[in-house]
Every structure is written in C-alpha cells, then in structure tokens.
C-alpha cells in the first residue's frame, strides 16, 4: 500500500513549525501525567497494603486486613502492575515500534485499573453501609482505621484511573494524527 502523497515543500515546513510548538507542549504535559500516574499507583498500593486494624469484641479479637477481601487484593495487584508499567514506560524512548505497543498496553492497563477500582468500590460500600437483607453488618464503625486507609487508597486509585484515561486520549490523538508512522 502506498503511503501519503508528498505535499508541496512550503506547506510542509510551515505545518511542521506550527505543530512542533503545540506538540512539544502536549508532550511535556503528558510526560508529567505519566509521572503523576507513577505516583498515584504507588500511593494506592502503599496505602492499601498498610491498612490493618483490629478490635476486641467480647474478648475475641477481630482483625481487618486487605488480604481478607479478594476485591482489595485485586486492587493492590492491579495498581502494582500499573506502577511497574508506568516506571518502565518513563524510560522508553519514543521510537515507532515500541510506541505502538505502549498505546495498546496503555488501553489494557486503563481498563484493568477501572475494573479494580469498581470492585474495591463495591466492597467499600458494603463495608460502610452493610446489607441488611443478607444479614451483613457494616464493619467501619468497629475498625475505623482500616476504613480510612481503604478510602485513601481508593482516592489515589481514582486519580490513577483519570490519569491513565487522559493518557489513552492522548494516544488516540497521536494515532489519528496524519504524521503517525
């Protein structure tokens, strides 16, 4: 298949000069967004992993750890994977072959993070409000430290999700631009 037909040279030079200024600003902004993604995913992992609280009821010690709930374990694992990926992507040069794979992985990881925060959100709502129809009582009044940690981790997770979604939007913009290799 043939590539784009060559345009007149004068048009190319003015077009690239105009695009370079705006494209540079966008590139710097999205590099900062990737740094924010690294920070947000790291915060989510650390805050959730350090959530631990125990309370004593009638002489029985009840412990609340994130490992007891598979949804919170999934949240930690997903944010951990996203953190490692974001770190690696920071050091990858923007060559053409790798940048296509990065776009695909960006989309996959953004969806993984949204699923993780949805699952953790369902569990958090249940822990806070309980479900009277099933006889499941809320636990947040008994282990408030645990619930605060989970809430903090979910806020970091929300920031990470929004950051990843913005990065995906920029990737789509790059794919649709006429200068895409």
């Amino acid at each position: 298949m043939e590539t784009v037909l060559p345009l007149p040279t004068l048009q190319i030079s003015t077009a690239t000069y105009n695009l370079t200024g705006m494209a540079k600003v966008l590139r710097v902004f999205f590099l900062l967004l990737r740094l924010l993604a690294v920070a947000a995913t790291l915060c989510a992992v650390v805050i959730m992993a350090t959530s631990h609280d125990s309370t004593t009821v009638f002489g029985i010690t009840l412990e609340a750890k994130f490992q007891h709930t598979p949804a919170l374990v999934f949240f930690v694992v997903a944010n951990g994977i996203a953190f490692i990926y974001s770190l690696i992507v920071l050091f990858v040069p923007s060559t053409s072959l790798l940048s296509r794979s990065i776009i695909v992985f960006d989309v996959i990881l953004a969806m993984l993070l949204t699923a993780a925060i949805a699952a953790a959100g369902a569990m958090a709502q249940l822990g806070k409000k309980g479900n009277s129809h099933a006889g499941w009582f809320p636990i947040c009044d008994r282990v408030p430290n645990f619930c605060d940690h989970v809430m903090g981790a979910m806020i970091c997770g929300c920031v990470a999700v929004i950051t990843f979604l913005l990065i995906v939007l920029y990737d789509i913009h790059q794919v649709l631009s006429p200068k895409f290799p």
Binding site: M111, A116, A122, I139
Partner: protein, 191 residues
C-alpha cells in the same frame, strides 16, 4: 466496484476496509446481544423463600425472605450500565448511514470507549459482590447466601458471564475501530 481508471492503491485497500467494516458491525451486534442479555437476566433476578419461623399451637408462622437485585447497589449499577450499553449499541447500529463523516466516526469511537468502561466497571463490581455472596467473608462475619438462594445465584452468574463476554467483544471492537480509523486515514489521503 473495481475502478479501472483509479489508482492501484484504492482497489487494493477497499477489500480490507470492507472486511474491517463488516467485522465491526458483527462485533457490535454480538455485543448488543450480550449486554442486553446480561441486563435483562439481572433485572428479572428475584427469589423469594418462605420459611416457618415458629409454630403457635397448630398454626405455623411463616416469614418470607426475598433476594432481589435492587438490594445491592452494585447489581443496580450492573443493570443500568448494561442497559445503557445495549441501547447505545442499538442506536449506533441504526444510525450507521448518518455516521459516514470522519468527525462523527471519531465521536462514535470515543463513546465506544466510554460504554466499554461502563460495562467493565459494572461487571467488576457485580463480580466482587457475587464472589462475596458465594463464599462469604468469615473475618467480617458475613455469611454466604448462595446456599439458600440457589436460583438467584445461578441467574446472577449467567448474567455476569454474559456481561464479561460483552466486555471482551467491546474491547475487540474498540481495537478494530482504531485500525479502521487509521486505515481510512491512508485511503482518504489517496482520494
């Protein structure tokens, strides 16, 4: 269809472009079926069990326990998300003649991603609730309910599987529409 006076590249890229379009339409139809199945199954998911609580003299006192999807916010969100996704897919298929414009196709692609995110989050939240209903959480003293409400759990499980299948189909459709958008980019420059 084969233009004898046209460029070589046009006739070469047309069959591939048509295959991509056909695949997109069939994927959207399959995703519509999957998400509407999930929404419908979960929306009509209700089970009532009547148990004898006590016996006064010779009259048994009955109490009925109901398991319905409205009792769990995650399931409500699941039904809403899948209903929105199936309505959107139906609209996108019915309005295909109006969406030949490139700007509108980019808009449809962005809305596809939004709808995919909706379906994925709905399925994830409902899956965490379903896992809890099946296994319980002994540390929080939350007992499983699937041993008592079997039909509710089975129907919910089938709806969940349908939603996950719909999510995979939507993901494939998203990836393919990016390919379709870039391929049109090349062909429109050759026109």
């Amino acid at each position: 269809m084969a233009d004898e006076n046209g460029k070589q590249t046009e006739t070469e890229s047309r069959p591939w472009h048509q295959t991509v379009t056909l695949l997109l339409v069939s994927l959207r139809l399959a995703a519509l079926v999957a998400t509407s199945t999930a929404a419908g199954l979960m929306a009509f998911n209700k089970e009532t069990k009547t148990v004898t609580v006590a016996v006064v003299g010779t009259n048994p006192i009955l109490q009925s326990f109901t398991a319905a999807f409205q009792q769990t916010p995650a399931f409500v969100y699941f039904v809403l998300a899948n209903a929105i996704a199936s309505l959107y897919n139906l609209l996108a298929m019915l309005l295909r003649p109006c969406l030949k414009n490139r700007g509108r196709q980019v808009l449809v692609h962005l809305l596809d991603m939004v709808v995919f995110a909706l379906v994925v989050t709905g399925a994830a939240a409902a899956a965490s609730m379903a896992e809890l209903g099946k296994n319980g959480n002994k540390y929080a003293r939350w007992n499983p309910i699937c041993d008592r409400f079997e039909a509710f759990c089975i129907r919910g499980g089938v709806a969940l599987v349908a939603a996950f299948i719909g999510a995979v189909l939507l993901l494939l459709m998203n990836a393919l529409s990016v390919v379709g958008l870039t391929c049109k980019n090349v062909t429109s420059n050759n026109n």
